[in-house]
Symmetry: C2
Subunit: 337 residues, 2 copies
């Protein structure tokens, strides 16, 4: 197959190609999966950082500051916003930076918000694929912003190797949020709005908690103070991220986590592909249609009907004719329920 010009564009740094391929990912186009196969070997080397945290802690502002800092370091940065309440979001295809303090016209930054509905392959898969496209595009760092908890949300564990949980001093929901699963995912706690009173206490409190409760024996979450408003603590935050990335490169437990992540992705892809196959067989395969019809008419029971269709899907029973067993005895009876 001749290489897709969009893939060539992506690999040569064409932003329009990147934007189009992300749109293909979202719509579930076969072009997207072909592109992802092609570029897969070029992924897995960027630093992928997830930012999670409750509403109002200033995740987006902090990410903007970090992006600016990374640009001064000469690093290319992609941002994927999954949080629908994020100022990054809003469906802008080439990155909506209006409300964010991001360098304008800078070709080393690409921001994309993911539609949280109507993702053909599911939001988690869409996010994974978009991160990979940004990696293949040449981003040194890819930042994923999510709410980080809640059912409809993308589990940041599934996409990022380093997870930053953003909190603020005296946030009433702090402990609540930590209980809601944010504590378990944090590699780094960033206490934002360090200009507010109580910041030092919050840091101390979190450090104590990480000592007592740390769920992993080999990595105790770092706690760091920063202020997106005053642009302080940003370099320190990046150093902590790098320290965790070094750890991930070396530790076998982190390798296991990466395996688990791919295992989960494989399972989700398999489930989706089987569902697609089932859907198309129910529509297009004459024998399957016939069994489905007989079940609907009460001529065969749904247990037997589903068994036969699964056999058919598995390539067995191809030449069997459809038996017309157990015709209903009670012709005049009420339809079955």
């Amino acid at each position: 197959m001749p290489p897709d010009p969009l893939v060539k564009g992506l690999l040569s740094g064409d932003r329009i190609a990147l934007a189009k391929l992300i749109t293909d990912v979202e719509s579930g186009s076969p072009r997207a999966s072909e592109a992802l196969r092609t570029v897969y070997a070029r992924t897995g080397r960027s630093t992928v950082v997830g930012f999670a945290g409750p509403l109002g802690v200033g995740k987006s502002s902090l990410i903007s500051r970090l992006v600016r800092y990374l640009r001064t370091e000469g690093l290319k940065v992609g941002v994927v916003a999954v949080d629908p309440s994020s100022p990054f979001s809003g469906g802008a295809v080439l990155g909506d930076r209006v409300r964010l303090d991001l360098p304008r016209g800078d070709k080393g930054v690409f921001v994309r918000s993911m539609a949280t509905r109507g993702q053909a392959g599911g939001l988690a898969q869409g996010t994974r694929d978009t991160v990979r496209l940004m990696e293949a595009f040449g981003m040194d760092v890819v930042i994923v912003e999510t709410v980080g908890s809640g059912q409809s949300d993308v589990n940041i564990r599934d996409v990022a190797t380093t997870r930053v949980v953003v909190l603020v001093p005296h946030l009433g929901d702090d402990i609540q949020s930590l209980k809601a699963g944010l504590f378990e995912i944090a590699d780094i706690f960033a206490v934002n709005k360090s200009d507010l009173p109580g910041s030092a206490e919050a840091v101390r409190h979190l450090r104590e908690m990480t000592t007592i409760m740390s769920p992993r024996s080999d990595w105790r979450p770092d706690v760091t103070e920063c202020s997106a408003l005053n642009a302080t603590g940003i370099e320190e935050l990046w150093k902590k991220i790098q320290r965790h990335e070094d750890f991930v490169r070396k530790e076998s437990s982190a390798h296991q986590e990466s395996r688990d992540r791919l295992k989960k992705e494989l399972r989700e892809l398999l489930q989706r592909k089987l569902e697609e196959r089932l859907r198309s067989m129910l529509l297009e395969d004459g024998e399957v249609e016939e069994w489905a019809r007989q079940v609907e008419e009460g001529k065969i029971d749904p247990y037997t009907g589903s068994d036969r269709i699964v056999q058919r899907l598995s390539g067995q029973g191809r030449s069997k004719t459809v038996s017309r067993r157990s015709p209903r005895l009670d012709k005049g009876a009420r339809p079955r329920g």
Copy 2:
């Protein structure tokens, strides 16, 4: 295959056999599906009535009254309680009637509450199967009690041919509940606690609503008053149920609904069986295991890996050897994310 003694027991009215088979259904035992296949031709002829409605409207008391009335009419009645807050519930295997005014020691009544968790085949399927076992047992009427709305709930549309929505006069949540989907499912509205003031107005109001909003052109929901406390309106309620059952027997739209119900069941069964098959292949099929391992290790991409496994599941690619393409070039790199 020699007939299962439990099935023989079920068909000859052995209550222990019925109880054991329901337990088999809940645990997903193969014995249960075999039994259901065997008795399927004997199902679909009972009157299956669903009772739904908000908390506190007295669904369970009303059902108790209806059961007593039906017994005086010589009808055998099964009750399946899916509502976890129902007094019928509580996991009693042979029917917990302690808090309910049901005839004790009466062999013509069987009450079973469904565990809302840990149902091997899903709660909806467990309810369908339990209803069928009760039909095969010889119940003339099977009553299913659910909350009737909400996500984790069994959709009463999937199991019952006649749906009774129970409300009370001046219930603050009335309109709310109706908006929450109860209006669309109701074949009959039963305004319980008709002894309370405002009952006649509530009935009038509901009648108006059914005139204006009725979602179906061929059936306008009946509205009836009753009081579980004073045992009034129970016979009238049963007459309305029978009127709807007569309608269902005759109308083609009701036949279509029955087909849709079976179609949905078939889809759910298929999905579950495919998931099971996938799970067992990932554990037991050497080639599938090998592909999964290569994906986890980053040796092949998850898109290609999932394609090959789906092909394998479909009986293709059986003799292909596992290719070891695209070995990672960056041996020392961080594990993949």
